[in-house]
């Protein structure tokens, strides 16, 4: 298993999707992210781990400019998506977010029908010319979200009426419906029970076929289970970024070792 992953990684190595250089984030006077350099590969699951408040979610939100919505937040440094600067003046964050989808910590389906949840993104981006095409997109998204079989008979039911795990998979389906290239997941399983977590993790592994997935998680086991590469954040610094196997078995930095063995964090 591990060997197979190594082979995959070798293939992926030259295919860098997002590259971040010298990224700094300030909340008012608070320097939240310091000098982060990271290359995120295509068709790979990258996990961000670290203690609470270490800035991993903040950094994740830089990748699709969700931090723009926070007034006091200021981002410096270069983040390139396929070689293009996402903080360029010409970049419309709305377009960027269609390419870099996001799934949030708490399942947050719109209080609308399941169908409307999945159809909303494609609708506003004008991806479907007619109802039949939209139906097709919705079905494909829900299938990719691994929730189609459970909801296909009740697409008109409200998305908020689903269970927590189903809601989160619906949110993933909603995010993939716009055909993003990167999927950002901010602790997608923290509000879910172990069974739902397993379903979502399985789904993340499948999504790797088509997308570059970046997942923030508090659970080191989860990072070890789903990711190929892991980045460890501590106090706003990116301490170590390497293959998941290496981080968890033979970390270079002392702080990483302390964290994964439970001495800090």
């Amino acid at each position: 298993m591990n060997d197979m992953r190594l082979i995959e990684r070798a293939v992926d190595m030259d295919d860098i999707k997002i590259s971040a250089r010298d990224v700094q984030v300030y909340y008012g006077d608070n320097h939240a992210i310091k000098d982060v350099n990271v290359d995120i590969q295509d068709k790979t699951v990258t996990a961000f781990i670290g203690p609470s408040g270490c800035g991993k979610s903040t950094f994740l939100r830089c990748l699709n400019r969700m931090n723009d919505t926070i007034d006091i937040c200021r981002v410096e440094g270069d983040i390139h998506l396929d070689g293009e600067d996402i903080n360029d003046k010409r970049v419309d964050p709305v377009q960027l977010r269609a390419k870099v989808g996001m799934v949030f910590q708490k399942p947050n389906p719109f209080p609308k029908s399941i169908y409307d949840n999945a159809a909303y993104g494609p609708k506003i981006h004008g991806m479907a010319k007619n109802k039949a095409e939209l139906d097709e997109i919705v079905e494909r998204a829900l299938r990719r979200g691994a929730i189609w079989d459970e909801v296909k008979d009740r697409l008109d039911a409200p998305g908020t009426g689903l269970s927590g795990g189903q809601q989160q998979r619906l949110c993933i389906a909603r995010a993939v419906a716009t055909e993003p290239e990167v999927l950002l997941m901010d602790e997608p399983c923290s509000a879910l029970d172990p069974i739902a977590t397993a379903q979502v993790e399985e789904l993340i592994d499948e999504l790797r076929q088509n997308y570059s997935v970046v997942i923030v998680t508090h659970s080191m086991q989860q990072a070890a289970r789903v990711s190929q590469k892991t980045a460890f954040f501590h106090l706003g610094n990116l301490v170590e970024y390497d293959e998941t196997g290496k981080i968890f078995t033979n970390p270079e930095d002392e702080r990483t070792e302390s964290y994964i063995t439970g001495r800090i964090g």
């Binding site: 007034d71 709305v94 977010r97 269609a98 996001m102 947050n108 506003i124 995010a175 716009t178």
Partner: protein, 444 residues
């Protein structure tokens, strides 16, 4: 180890049984009990005043909804009508005809009196002759036959039958005396006098000070209605647009903080201040017509705006930020996130706030004092939209105020009746607000 010893050897006296209540706990229970009693007393006082208010309103006001009428069959003789029309003060001749008919009807019913027709007419409303003439002018074909009229009884007669006017009270009255009341008793037995529901009070116009029996609240109700249209047309879009901008788009800085504080303060500004502002801006500067519902509505808009802005912002704030994140996360623009997701969820709160603001505006009197919507006798219902907005009119609360300060106690009764109608409107609006809130909240 030290813990264990501490548990095994408790100090004497510290050991307690849960079967007995220690003094400290008993004290706390007593305090709780006292607090509950205070609360119940407070609620009882509140309920007592509410009950007193309702009893006062109902007992004083319901009488305004019935009206005594005198039923008279009057022959429409062409020669008499022509003679009356030839006279300069036409209604006086018609009054004489009514008086003769009344005398005739009374003697037919076997009621004996030595009073002149002129004196008998005192028992009818001053408008009887005019009503008669209006009927003749509207139905010229009826002349030659006869028609059964239901003339309004005078407010004294009406009040006597409602128990408001007594024989003792009439000693100093120059209109009626006790002998009239004896006649009224007999007339009632003979079926000449009847009491029926007073539709004219609800739909009619105000009347002059001497004819309280003819006064109605209908025209000022229309005035209130047109004002509410103006308030709705201005306050709702301006208020919602302002709050969406402030809540969702405006940058957080000193300037927006200042605006926020000012809006909160405006909501607490006495309404008479808005009245004088309306007078200065809409009438003295913009030269809009005085006493017009348009001006009243604009003034009330100024007063209602802060309420609407505050409640709209509160309901926008209560929409969880995760919904905004979700919409932005799939690439919605800020405006799409607000209009597709946030606004629909905030709608019940916005509607409730708006309706409560409207209800507040509907019951407001003070600003109307200053723009001349009080003291005006709203005698003609507006014909059409333009005259509804621009012709002088009154409003329900202003009309009630006007009636309450008139001398005749019959008007006092009307004022209470007007309050019942006003409260019915306010209750209806609040119920609509509650229903809307329920209806929309189920979807969420």
């Amino acid at each position: 180890m030290t813990d264990a010893t501490a548990h095994t050897t408790p100090e004497p006296g510290s050991k307690s049984s849960i079967l007995t209540v220690d003094p400290h706990t008993a004290k706390r229970h007593a305090a709780e009990g006292r607090f509950k009693i205070y609360g119940i007393i407070a609620i009882c006082i509140g309920l007592f005043f509410l009950a007193a208010l309702l009893i006062a309103i109902v007992s004083n006001g319901t009488r305004a909804f019935t009206q005594t009428r005198v039923v008279l069959e009057i022959p429409l003789v062409a020669a008499e009508i022509e003679a009356a029309e030839a006279y300069i003060v036409k209604t006086s001749k018609y009054n004489d005809l009514v008086g003769e008919a009344l005398t005739g009807a009374m003697s037919d019913a076997g009621i004996e009196t030595e009073m002149e027709p002129k004196e008998l007419l005192m028992m009818l409303s001053g408008s009887a002759g005019a009503n008669f003439r209006n009927f003749v002018l509207e139905n010229p074909d009826a002349v030659g036959g006869s028609h059964q009229f239901e003339f309004l009884a005078s407010s004294r007669v009406d009040g006597y039958l409602k128990g408001r006017v007594t024989r003792e009270a009439l000693v100093d009255d120059k209109n009626l005396d006790a002998a009239h009341l004896d006649l009224v008793d007999q007339m009632r037995e003979a079926g000449l006098v009847e009491r029926s529901f007073n539709w004219d009070f609800i739909f009619g116009a105000d009347a002059s000070e001497s004819r309280p029996e003819a006064a109605g609240i209908g025209v000022s109700m229309l005035g209130s209605f047109f004002m509410m249209l103006v308030v709705l047309a201005f306050a709702l879009p301006i208020g919602i647009a302002a709050s969406i901008y402030l809540e969702e788009f405006a940058p957080q800085n000193r300037f927006t903080d200042l605006i926020e504080v000012n809006i909160a303060n405006l909501a607490a500004v006495p309404s008479i201040v808005f009245g004088i502002l309306g007078l200065a801006v809409f009438i003295q500067v913009m030269h809009l017509p005085q006493s017009a519902p348009l001006v009243g509505g604009l003034t009330l808009t100024l007063m209602t705006l802060p309420t609407i802005v505050i409640s709209t912002r509160a309901s926008l704030k209560s929409v969880p930020p995760s919904i905004r994140d979700a919409a932005l996360g799939v690439g919605a623009s800020k405006m799409q996130a607000v209009f597709h997701h946030v606004l629909p969820l905030a709608m019940p709160g916005i509607l409730t706030g708006t309706i409560i603001g409207l209800a507040q505006a509907l019951g407001e009197t003070a600003p109307l004092l200053l723009i001349g919507m009080v003291g005006f006798i709203a005698s003609n219902p507006p014909d059409g939209l333009a005259s509804g907005f621009l012709d002088p009119n009154s409003a329900m609360p202003a009309q009630i105020y006007e009636w309450a300060k008139r001398a005749d106690p019959a008007y006092y009764e009307r004022a209470w009746g007007g309050i019942i109608i006003l409260l019915l409107f306010l209750m209806t609006m609040n119920i609509i607000a509650i229903l809307l809130r329920r209806k929309f909240e189920r979807r969420w």
